[in-house]
């Protein structure tokens, strides 16, 4: 490993892409998905590729290894890695580069590690295979890197299996694995998207540290401008396979040239205009002292109590595993609690779904995180929205048809265009609108929104939030908004509930919860949300190191 490092001069050109064009296959036809991209990457430099889904960022990332996914092909252009045009090279040559001189960090570490082998064995696999290191050297390097990435117990953590470490740790182990051969180029494909904000910080810090220490060139792919601003030197904004803008991170954040970049920057600034007044009316939903568990012994919710008032939006915030989705399952009756009661408009709801009557079911509706799986792909929009109408309200024929059209108009989709479509013929945002219409069709009092925007592109997500807000203003429906995204909370909630490990740590009016002094967990959560400021990460890490802000909390075992 030491011999190669000597030649690592900062500034040397590593990757040079010229006029890259790629096509993807859909329905048996080839469509151009990357339309002429030029990219230069020097040693020690990080380029962020940013754009919405379908912009071609992952495709370009993989192309820099000379690789095209099945169903994709490179049609024109050149990809020069270290002076060699990969397009002219054999598959064997390219395979040798991958894992050796170029490595790849995927979005989901959990899906990328082999669950049957220990972390440290997987760490060295590529390096030993490529003949760069012996197994003993690889193990020593692994421990060094684990230490550098601040994994707990760096000497022993490698001997665990992937399921025995937390998501953030696994993602850092994956970054370490990518460094095993001391590659010249690393491609990070949304490495933090699947992580909670507090773990995201750890991984971002690890990425930044690794890149600067080893002078590695990197491509960082993400849809989140605030994240990429922390690690990238240059940012390339992509849309529909075209390059919109390329520039230095600081100047782009400060002075974007293109309208589209400005839109991306302005995202997350939406805020609803009027917040609901706190009132003393009887709450529409009252959850008292709920304790619930899956199977025996594992308590997921511990003595949870909360209230939701008519026309209010209550955000339930917490990280994965905090029990917020379980709370929704308890309220909807999918998981009967072992203790506690749920009161809805003054009457006690039966705890099990099957004991609730049609009217109780109707008044409580749910919208899911993934519109793809929440809509039956074999049902047309007409049937999806029509079913609650006939099921709950007994509507038939012309009356039902008219109402379906009204609902489609309400969610800002043209009835003539959309009523006969299948979900597969809709975009992600349109699907989520249909889910909203399905919930509204039942004329509910309360809608539980389970991470409804987190699977959507940011611009689309914002449109959905605005729609939900407009609907609340018009229909006075209440929302219970489950989310891990503080920006969403700031945008539309009136009150918020912060959950940690099945307990509520703080709740109340949003402004009160968001203003210090706070529970240390709330503070940690808030301070971990990336801001559109290239210095944010460094500042935060410095402040945390100095003890000015909370960096971890005692009761959180996996941090």
């Amino acid at each position: 490993m030491s011999t190669k490092n000597k030649t690592r001069e900062k500034g040397e050109l590593v990757l040079r892409m010229r006029g890259l064009r790629m096509e993807g296959q859909a329905d048996g036809e080839w469509h151009e998905i990357v339309k002429g991209i030029d990219l230069d990457l020097h040693r020690g430099e990080v380029v962020g590729l940013i754009g919405e889904s379908g912009a071609g960022k992952s495709t370009i990332g993989l192309a820099s290894m000379g690789f095209a996914r099945p169903g994709c092909r490179i049609t024109a252009g050149s990809i020069e890695f270290d002076g060699t045009d990969l397009m002219q090279q054999s598959e064997d040559y390219k395979r040798n580069l991958r894992g050796g001189r170029i490595s790849y960090v995927a979005q989901s570490a959990a899906a990328s590690f082999n669950p049957a082998h220990k972390l440290i064995d997987q760490f060295g696999e590529a390096a030993v295979q490529h003949g760069v290191l012996t197994k003993a050297e690889a193990d020593r390097d692994a421990k060094d890197l684990y230490k550098r990435l601040e994994l707990p117990n760096p000497d022993t953590i490698g001997y665990r299996y992937p399921h025995q470490v937390s998501g953030g740790q696994l993602q850092r182990a994956m970054v370490a694995m990518a460094m095993a051969c001391k590659p010249d180029l690393i491609i990070f494909d949304e490495p933090t998207t699947a992580l909670d904000v507090t773990t995201q910080i750890e991984v971002l810090a690890a990425v930044k540290d690794i890149v600067t220490t080893f002078n590695t060139a990197a491509i960082y792919i993400t849809h989140d401008l605030a994240v990429v601003a922390q690690v990238a030197d240059k940012i390339m904004v992509l849309r529909h396979g075209n390059m919109i803008e390329l520039g230095e991170t600081r100047s782009m954040i400060a002075k974007p040239k293109e309208d589209y970049t400005r839109e991306l920057l302005a995202v997350r600034t939406y805020k609803k205009e009027e917040f609901a007044e706190a009132n003393d009316d009887a709450p529409i939903l009252k959850v008292s002292n709920i304790t619930a568990s899956y199977g025996k012994g594992i308590t997921v919710l511990d003595d949870v109590s909360m209230e939701i008032h008519r026309g209010h939006t209550v955000a339930v915030v917490g990280e994965s595993g905090s029990g917020k989705s379980t709370l929704a399952r308890v309220i909807t009756g999918l998981l009967p609690p072992s203790q506690g009661s749920i009161e809805f408009e003054g009457e006690i709801l039966p705890s099990a779904l099957k004991n609730r009557n049609k009217d109780q079911l109707r008044r409580l509706q749910m919208i899911y995180q993934m519109p793809d799986t929440a809509l039956n792909p074999r049902q047309r929009v007409r049937d999806v929205i029509g079913r609650p109408l006939s099921f709950y309200l007994g509507m038939q024929g012309q009356e039902k048809e008219t109402r379906i059209r009204e609902l489609l108009t309400l969610i800002e989709l043209d009835p003539d265009h959309f009523i006969d479509r299948f979900p597969g013929e809709l975009s992600g945002g349109q699907k989520q609108r249909i889910c909203i219409a399905r919930a509204l069709a039942a004329e509910p009092e309360l809608i539980i929104c389970d991470e409804v925007t987190s699977a959507l592109d940011q611009l689309v997500a914002e449109e959905i939030l605005k729609l939900l807000q407009r609907l609340q203003n018009e229909l006075h429906v209440s929302y219970m908004f489950i989310t891990h995204d503080i920006a969403t909370v700031k945008a539309i909630s009136d009150e918020m509930v912060v959950m940690l490990q099945g307990k509520i740590v703080e709740q109340g009016e949003k402004d009160v919860v968001l203003t210090p002094p706070q529970h240390e967990y709330t503070e940690l959560l808030l301070s971990s949300v990336p801001e559109m400021d290239p210095d944010w990460l460094d500042d935060l890490l410095a402040r945390r190191a100095a003890g000015e802000v909370v960096s971890t909390i005692a009761s959180k075992p996996n941090a």
Binding site: G71, L334, Q379, R438
Partner: protein, 277 residues
């Protein structure tokens, strides 16, 4: 309709050939009284006559026209196999989806019951049951359908499991929909592709199974024309170098191959497999 035509045009030659053969068989099965030169059980000549212009494929051991009986065999064998497969799918599919949706003890009970049936070799089990209940056509259909439904059950349960975890099924449960609605409207439409492919394969197996039983003398009873028993009845002719008994066997083989061609294509289409370029 145009989409259907376009879909058909994308079929490779093997699938087209398969569809053509199946179409011919179905046509024969429907119009056999018009097409056949003689009656199904009519004695028209002496036994074992050779091929000539009156008896195209000669006559069998009792002096019945072979060509006529092969045509009737299409109707009987295919008809019975089709009804049996449908019944097996109705039973196995319904129970499989129920298992997947309800889970818990229903799933356990049905699953273990199916395990027990599957543990017994099906040909021997079928022979046993046929000896007990007699060999009328309805009994034959029910016994084979029940035995075969165990395999359908397993597939339906596995496919159903993947669908019941989808949020649209949860949404339907939250809406308060009943079991029947969930199975019929939420699960079934999404389980169709693998089930249809399996239907084709199962049909072949049932068809072969009936022929095998007939060959062993416990399937379709004479004088009903059936390919399996026709092979058995005329097997002696092979010793004299006459290939006539192989013709019904050939008819069985051809249909099996044809159905498999179509199923292969359909599976390839619906599984979303893409050829690596």
């Amino acid at each position: 309709m145009t989409r259907f035509l376009k879909f058909m045009q994308s079929a490779p030659w093997s699938a087209r050939f398969g569809m053509f053969v199946i179409a011919v068989y179905v046509f024969v099965a429907f119009f056999v009284p018009v097409l056949a030169p003689f009656g199904e059980t009519e004695l028209v000549g002496s036994s074992y006559q050779g091929w000539d212009s009156t008896y195209w494929l000669g006559t069998d051991s009792l002096g019945r026209d072979m060509f006529t009986r092969i045509l009737y065999g299409a109707r009987n064998t295919i008809g019975i196999a089709f009804v049996t497969t449908c019944l097996a799918f109705l039973l196995g599919g319904l129970l499989g989806f129920m298992s997947a949706t309800l889970g818990g003890w229903v799933d356990q009970l049905l699953g273990r019951f199916v395990d027990v049936i599957m543990a017994i070799p099906s040909l021997i089990f079928a022979l046993l049951l046929l000896t007990i209940f007699g060999t009328s056509v309805p009994v034959l259909i029910i016994i084979i359908a029940v035995l075969d439904s165990t395999r359908v059950y397993r597939l339906a349960r596995a496919v159903g499991m993947n669908i019941t975890v989808m949020e649209y099924v949860e949404a339907a449960k939250l809406r308060g929909e009943g079991l029947w609605w969930i199975i019929r409207r939420e699960i079934l439409p999404n389980a169709m592709p693998p089930m249809v492919a399996e239907f084709g394969l199962r049909f072949c197996f049932v068809f072969l199974f009936i022929s095998a039983l007939s060959f062993l003398g416990l399937g379709i009873k004479p004088p009903i024309a059936d390919w399996g028993s026709m092979v058995k009845e005329n097997a002696a002719l092979i010793s004299y170098g006459d290939i006539t008994p192989l013709l019904p066997a050939g008819a069985i083989a051809l249909l099996t191959v044809a159905v498999n061609f179509v199923v292969d294509w359909f599976l390839h289409k619906t599984s979303g497999l893409r050829d690596e370029h």
